[in-house]
Amino acid sequence: MELETDVLVIGGGMAGLAAACSAADAGASVIVVRKGHGATADSSGAIDIAGYLPGGNTPFQSGREGLRAITGLFPYHPYSVLGQESTETGSQFEKALERVEHSVNMLKKWLSGTPAETIGSLERNISAVTVLGTSKPTSLLQKTMLPPDWDDDSILLFEGFAGNPDFNAVLAAKTFMAERARVGEPPKKIADSELTLSPFGKPYNVSPVEIARHLDHPGGTAFLADSLSKDVERTGATHIALPPILGLKTPAENRRILEDRLDVQVFELLSFPPSVPGLRLLRSLDNTLAGLDVRILEAHEAMNYEQSGNRIVRVQCKTHHRSLDILPDSVILASGKFIGGGITGSENGLSERLFGLPVVSEDWTSTDGIRPQRLTRPISINSRGHALFACGVAVDMHLRPLDGSGNTFAENLFSAGSVLAGYNYPVEKSGLGVALATGVFAGTNAAHALQEE
């Protein structure tokens, strides 16, 4: 079977979906092929733009400050590439900021009115609170995850659920309290408690997704409010931190029910997978795409391609029991890094899976033949990060991947997200931000390339 399309997007995480949205917005017909649900659905849902410089311990006050520092220091960072259009020296920051800001505005528009409705800006980073009680700088959060303002009289209650070991309220409260005391900021009183929710039948192996689904049912949240009231009364809580369970469909409404009934402010913590906000984000973007008539082909894996002259003309995809050929005018490679499967590695080195593109390190030096271990440091969790996770493909100023000689691999192939080299998202806290901004830019470029023909 063959399908024709203006733009083929390979990969259905944040980068691919942002690319598909912006290409469709620009009037292109778009097909997304997606192997699985990808890393975005497993993310905490926080859209990090820039939190730190690698190795630095002072968080950026804003995404804007982060962009300025990164574009000034790292010429091969995707943000710097986004700022490359102008040839004037020193203006990379301005252009990059403009493009990132544009992508943030697009995202807010796409997610407006969805369960993943997102707030925040490039003007001020948010100190988000995690299920471990730690804090991290991020730029955009889903509305229900924004930590409320608190003062010296506030009492913050960390509420866990019996049988859900993903979140331990006791240790999270302790960790958060110690940090607050260290910086001398409110809240000054913190409590923890654990709730047993009997509707699940068994009080063990309770999944956060299961709780979230329950809250979306009629009466589910009201029941939670009743159950919580005793803990609120006992602790005098003015604020409640919950693991992210406020529903997959109507989290804002569910939060409002809790806040109205309990007269407290409620927010969700950032969590590890399975992540309800990650699922909300992915599903909301999927729905936005459906509204733009973009086709998402689930469980399809791009396996091979055909090139004609300097263009990719055919991509062969595989799904259960059949294969499908897509004939695109432009292709966007948003296949992720190791989790997504865009980059693979063996003891003989790293390579890009589909097009066999050369993989470069964070400063775009070749990784040819380098054993993955050599791209790591002896300490697992360190603030400088491992070069391995900054490896990916090198690109031109239109985000088109480069071949081994530094030339554009194909004039109609663009790329976005963590398949790109040059940024170390786990330590920079820049993952979904780079995915979003490069996705939007790649999508726009792919659509513009069509018009030029």
Binding site: K202, F272, S346
Partner: protein, 552 residues
């Protein structure tokens, strides 16, 4: 009032040290066991767990006799932590066939006493039916059976049993000096690594069972001791690539093996003479490729599996020089340092896991003789904790609504204790929650271990419970276990978070040398969770690198 005087002090919490402590305590001696780290934290914790009938040392018939008899003893005292595995030795050439003869004869002579069949020679068809992953080009294979014990549980149970018989067991207590008086030992000076305090314990008899550190402990008493230290590395794969053990010739003609182990397979081992500090060792790329290349001839699909980690330990061989490692005796020696002018100090060199009870009996005989005590050894007769009775796994799974797989895995660690652990969930139903999904381990067992088995760290819990040893290597359980540890031990949050990082660091030590394939994705998940989301790369500021991380 802390007790400070003992009949005997045993240094080293490995298989031998814990066996000695158990034997001494059972014979009524007041006994102190000192371990500078945790029980089974060094050599024995990196072995494959085979209580070998003597596979590799058929040229030493006395030792083969001893090993075979010890297997029988272990099956009597510790059957709940033992599994019997079939093993195939596939042959690709006629020359492979000719070397099997002597082994087959020696093995078969003693097979009946261990209740296993004699060695069988199988056709390629029969071999492939037993293990379809074998190279179809094989011309024949040899079939035999060996027993495998959980080495962590064995050491812990020996230590716990010693405690039950009145011994004191102190982990994280490092011997910093041996006190001497008139040509004899008087006691030891120790450093408590948990509290940072130093103290002394008094005894006229010291057993040095510190494996690859034995010469260093002897040196504290100015007694000479020579060892031939030999590094062995394993590669661990994420799945049961084979369901029977495979033994084959490596690229250099040595024998190596691939053993199914719990949910994984162990590929080992290498043998390299070493002069490094055992704490700093990691597996090298050469060792990893040596093992994979060697096994690939008989199990061609081996590279398809994901390597989840490597592990490496140091064998404390008897000092025999100018022969290959394989030709060094696998027997053991007890050195009585009286001849060196240090009466009361006994050191072990050599030995194998399967011999640990025998070694303990021999040294305890010497200790008793020295102390003038007449007492019979009963370590081969009395069961280790948990082996008192059969456990009906299916009935327990039904009764508590927990999967049969989970209960069976618990039984294989716990024996009769399984009932006590599951009973905890009557008052705490949420403790049925799975904490480590790979293995799997439920919360009740984590709590039980913390209350009864003196673990100090998540790594200690790993040895007792197997948390974090599966395909995800602790990615999804480390933070959960850290929270339970913090709650049970009332740790400060900074200590708990540091403990979390320490365990991730320990796992990384084994994962890093073999990083490739799908393991890269697994590692991206680790970074995504603990650095990207939790921000622990910035939050935890007082992390101290481990000895193997020194060059960081």
């Amino acid at each position: 009032m802390t007790k400070t005087d003992y009949d005997v002090i045993v240094i080293g919490g490995g298989s031998t040290g814990t066996a000695v402590a158990r034997d001494c305590a059972m014979r009524g001696l007041s006994t102190l066991l000192l371990e500078r780290d945790d029980i089974a934290s060094a050599t024995v914790g990196t072995c494959a767990g085979m209580i070998s009938s003597g596979l590799k040392y058929m040229e030493e018939p006395d030792i083969v006799d001893m090993c075979s008899a010890e297997v029988v003893h272990f099956n009597h005292i510790a059957r709940h932590i033992i599994a019997k595995d079939p093993i195939l030795t596939p042959m690709l050439e006629m020359s492979d066939l000719s070397t099997g003869g002597n082994f087959a004869e020696e093995y078969s002579k003693r097979a009946a006493e261990r209740d296993v069949p004699p060695v069988l020679f199988l056709t390629p068809e029969d071999s492939l039916e037993i293990e379809p992953m074998l190279n179809p080009e094989i011309i024949a294979s040899m079939y035999f059976e060996e027993f495998f014990i959980d080495p962590f549980r064995l050491c812990l149970l020996q230590a716990l049993d010693a405690q039950r018989h009145g011994a004191d067991v102190k982990t994280y207590t490092e011997v910093t000096d041996i006190l001497l008086e008139k040509g004899a030992v008087r006691g030891v000076k120790v450093f408590d690594r948990t509290t940072g305090e130093t103290s002394e314990f008094i005894s006229s008899t010291i057993v040095n069972a510190t494996g690859p550190w034995a010469h260093k402990i002897a040196a504290l008493a100015e007694a000479p001791l020579e060892l031939r230290l030999n590094k062995g590395a394993h590669v661990i794969l994420d799945r049961r690539v084979v369901n029977v053990g495979i033994v084959t010739k490596a690229v250099d003609g040595r024998m190596i093996y691939l053993f199914p182990h719990e949910n994984t397979v162990l590929l080992g081992t290498t043998a390299l003479d070493t002069w490094e500090d055992p704490d700093t060792l990691t597996a090298s790329h050469d060792e990893i490729e040596y093992l994979i290349k060697s096994m690939e001839w008989v199990v061609p699909s081996i590279r398809d599996a994901r390597i989840i980690r490597t592990m490496e330990g140091v064998r404390p061989l008897i000092a025999t020089w100018k022969v290959p490692e394989d030709d060094v005796t696998r027997g053991y020696e007890i050195v009585d340092h009286k001849t060196d002018g240090v009466a009361g100090l006994f050191s072990f060199t050599g030995g194998k896991l399967v011999m640990c009870r025998h070694m303990a009996e021999a040294v305890t005989d010497l200790v008793c003789e020295k102390l003038g005590i007449e007492s019979e050894c009963r370590t081969d007769k009395e069961p280790l904790p948990g082996n008192e009775d059969d456990v009906d796994v299916l009935a327990l799974a039904e009764e508590y609504g927990i999967s049969q797989h989970t209960v069976e895995r618990m039984r294989a660690r716990r024996g009769t204790e399984t009932r006590d652990i599951l009973a905890l969930t009557r008052d705490h139903p949420s403790w049925k929650s799975t904490i480590c999904t790979c293995e799997p381990v439920i919360e009740a067992e984590v709590r039980y271990s913390l209350r009864n088995e003196f673990p100090q760290t998540i790594n200690d819990l790993r040895r007792r419970l197997r948390v974090g040893t599966g395909p995800c290597q602790g990615t999804f359980c480390t933070y959960k276990v850290a929270a339970i540890l913090a709650e049970e031990k009332e740790l400060d949050s900074s200590v708990a978070n540091l403990e979390l990082l320490n365990y991730l660091a320990e796992r990384w030590k084994g994962k890093r040398p073999s990083m490739r394939g799908q393991q890269l994705a697994q590692e991206e998940v680790v970074q995504g969770l603990y650095a990207c989301v939790a921000n622990l790369d910035r939050v935890v500021v007082n992390y101290e690198p481990g000895p193997w991380e020194e060059d960081a």
